[in-house]
């Protein structure tokens, strides 16, 4: 079972976002493995251990992405490919770069996150499956892998769809799929010796202008919400006042 994991490095979910001159600042930001991709790595390592084969991590991003990649290697992935790009890429450009890397390889299964917590697009992995001409199952919360097929439980707005798919396939991980392991000390030590191949986005995708479709023209922060009113007095009066406010002032009741 040769498995590829698509991994994106993202801002820590605790991170406060600051915008200066129309760009989001990266100073003082801690970077992490996109949380959904952690589920993907865990699942890949688990099935590799069960069925044999390899786990290869592919990440498109800035050079600092190697920190996230190393976490994946420490969790048990075998090797990695990092495609560096200094400009930020839209979903179709990221998918194209992943496609260029992956089409050259043999694989049985591709695991990815169902969304990146920065872009929240849920596009890259599905686009990749389409470009490769293979199927996909998204937002998977339970997975059973055998030699030539998978059975996946897909989370679809309050229902669970049980999907059977023929390999090769792309699977995207939803929260609840597993409990990602913490890298062990031994894992971290081993990761230092695992191979990382570096490629450049520009060589891989020379015609970026044709590939990119979405251009960010402005980034802004939501209007800061001000702390409102803490109600005072007897509880029954507070509740009464609350209903009055919601009805008369805010007109939401």
């Amino acid at each position: 079972m040769d498995i590829i994991v698509c991994l994106k490095q993202t801002f820590d979910t605790e991170a406060k976002i600051t915008v200066k001159d129309g760009v989001i600042l990266e100073d003082d930001v801690t970077f992490i493995v996109n949380p959904y991709d952690e589920y993907a790595i865990e699942e890949a390592v688990k099935w590799r251990d069960e069925l044999g084969g390899t786990v290869t991590v592919v990440s498109i991003g800035k050079e600092r992405a190697q920190e996230a990649v190393k976490t994946a290697l420490a969790m048990g992935a075998d090797d990695a490919i990092i495609v560096t790009s200094d400009t930020s890429l839209d979903s179709s450009a990221s998918a194209k770069a992943l496609y260029e890397v992956i089409k050259e390889r043999t694989f049985d299964l591709i695991l990815a996150g169902n969304q990146s917590v920065d872009q929240g697009a849920s596009q890259v992995a599905v686009r990749l499956a389409e470009m490769l001409g293979i199927g996909h199952v998204s937002t998977v919360v339970q997975l059973e892998v055998s030699d030539d097929h998978v059975v996946a439980h897909r989370d679809a707005d309050g229902t669970t769809e049980i999907v059977k798919g023929k390999l090769p396939l792309v699977i995207t991980a939803q929260q609840g799929l597993n409990e990602p392991r913490y890298p062990s000390l031994l894992g971290i030590r081993k990761a230092a010796k695992k191979p990382i191949e570096w490629l450049s986005f520009e060589t891989l995708v020379p015609d970026i202008a044709n590939v990119s479709k979405a251009k960010e023209v402005e980034v802004f922060l939501p209007v800061a919400k001000e702390a409102g009113k803490i109600l005072k007095g007897e509880l029954a009066d507070q509740v009464h006042a609350l209903i009055d406010h919601l009805h008369a002032d805010k007109k939401v009741l």
Binding site: L169, Q175, L235
Partner: protein
């Protein structure tokens, strides 16, 4: 003249409200354009009837047994056919489970731009500019979409149009004609226990956190929700603890909601939770800890025990409804 193709958000045999929000916006921005709404599924007669006077020029439907359940490859193929036949400039989907899955498939096939989770949209010099949340709503991006077609998935409750369009449409219904090899097949669908009001479309949400302490603890919240016709949501801690289904989770790794009224009960207000709900219009916090960060973004706060406050709120609301 441009062509707008709106993919109807069909749930069972009804249309979700977001369908009409998309139509109204398209009618407003593309007053001189051709408007098509297309539906796919099975047993679509009520849906088609509801769309006839919704304000578009044409209603297209592909009604087939094999579309009764969402199958990505059938859906992608049918929608791809719609886009092709319409020669569409703009394709709008709802940002809901099946359409957010199928939209990137179609976008890849058409080599097209796709913006997900769009909350606002303008149309300047024949270029579509959309606003979408990034970092789960901690920031927003305005994105210019290039090429033809351009596609987007639209968040319910957000696109507002000045007035509904009035028009009677021509109707064209057909059966699934394409032959598609399925790599994946949905074999079974299990309905999980979740409330009837749809979280992402709800005007009012009553949400519970670890403070509800048990599955039982959600009961008073459900009672309140019933009186308010609200949906019930949850924090991740409540889901993790097994008090409720993950489908109810709101936040950075759950659903992002923009309700008119959000009542947070026993939720501390972690940044990941705020990401999913802080753009709600009015926020009420009920928490026994006066220092809880949720109070910093709440319009109204009650410091107290939710098991006292919530039932009292329900009671008083009921009283007033009777008196009204």
């Amino acid at each position: 003249m441009k062509t707008w193709l709106i993919i109807a958000d069909v749930k069972k045999d009804t249309l979700r409200q977001v369908t009409f929000e998309m139509i109204a916006k398209a009618a407003e921005l593309g007053a001189q354009d051709r408007l098509i709404v297309a539906a796919l599924g099975h047993g679509l007669t009520p849906v088609v009837n509801a769309l006839e006077n919704a304000g578009v020029h044409e209603v297209w439907a592909v009604d087939d047994e094999r579309l009764a359940q969402y199958q990505p490859e059938y859906y992608a193929s049918v929608i791809d056919g719609f886009v092709e036949k319409a020669d569409a400039d703009f394709v709008l989907f709802a940002h809901s489970a099946k359409y957010r899955d199928v939209a990137p498939m179609v976008a890849a096939r058409k080599n097209a731009a796709l913006a997900s989770d769009v909350i606002a949209m303008t149309y300047e010099d024949s270029q579509v500019i959309v606003t979408r949340p990034i970092y789960a709503g901690k920031a927003f991006a305005k994105v210019a979409l290039q090429g033809k077609p351009v596609m987007m998935t639209v968040r319910p409750n957000n696109l507002v149009a000045d007035q509904p369009a009035t028009r009677t449409a021509s109707i064209n219904t057909s059966a699934l004609s394409t032959d598609v090899t399925l790599h994946t097949i949905v074999q079974e669908v299990v309905e999980r226990a979740v409330a009837d009001v749809d979280l992402t479309e709800a005007k009012i949400i009553v949400s519970g956190g670890r403070g509800v302490k048990s599955a039982e603890g959600f009961r008073p919240l459900e009672e309140l929700a019933k009186v308010l016709h609200a949906a019930v949501g949850a924090s991740r801690a409540a889901c993790d603890a097994g008090y409720c289904d993950y489908a109810m989770q709101i936040g950075q790794t759950g659903k992002v909601v923009t309700s008119d009224l959000y009542i947070a009960c026993g939720i501390s207000g972690a940044i990941q939770h705020l990401a999913g709900m802080s753009s709600s219009k009015v926020i009420v916090a009920i928490n026994k800890d006066p220092e809880a960060p949720i109070f910093k973004i709440a319009d109204y706060g009650i410091v107290g025990d939710l098991f006292e406050v919530v039932p009292m709120l329900t009671e008083q609301l009921k009283q007033r409804l009777v008196n009204a």
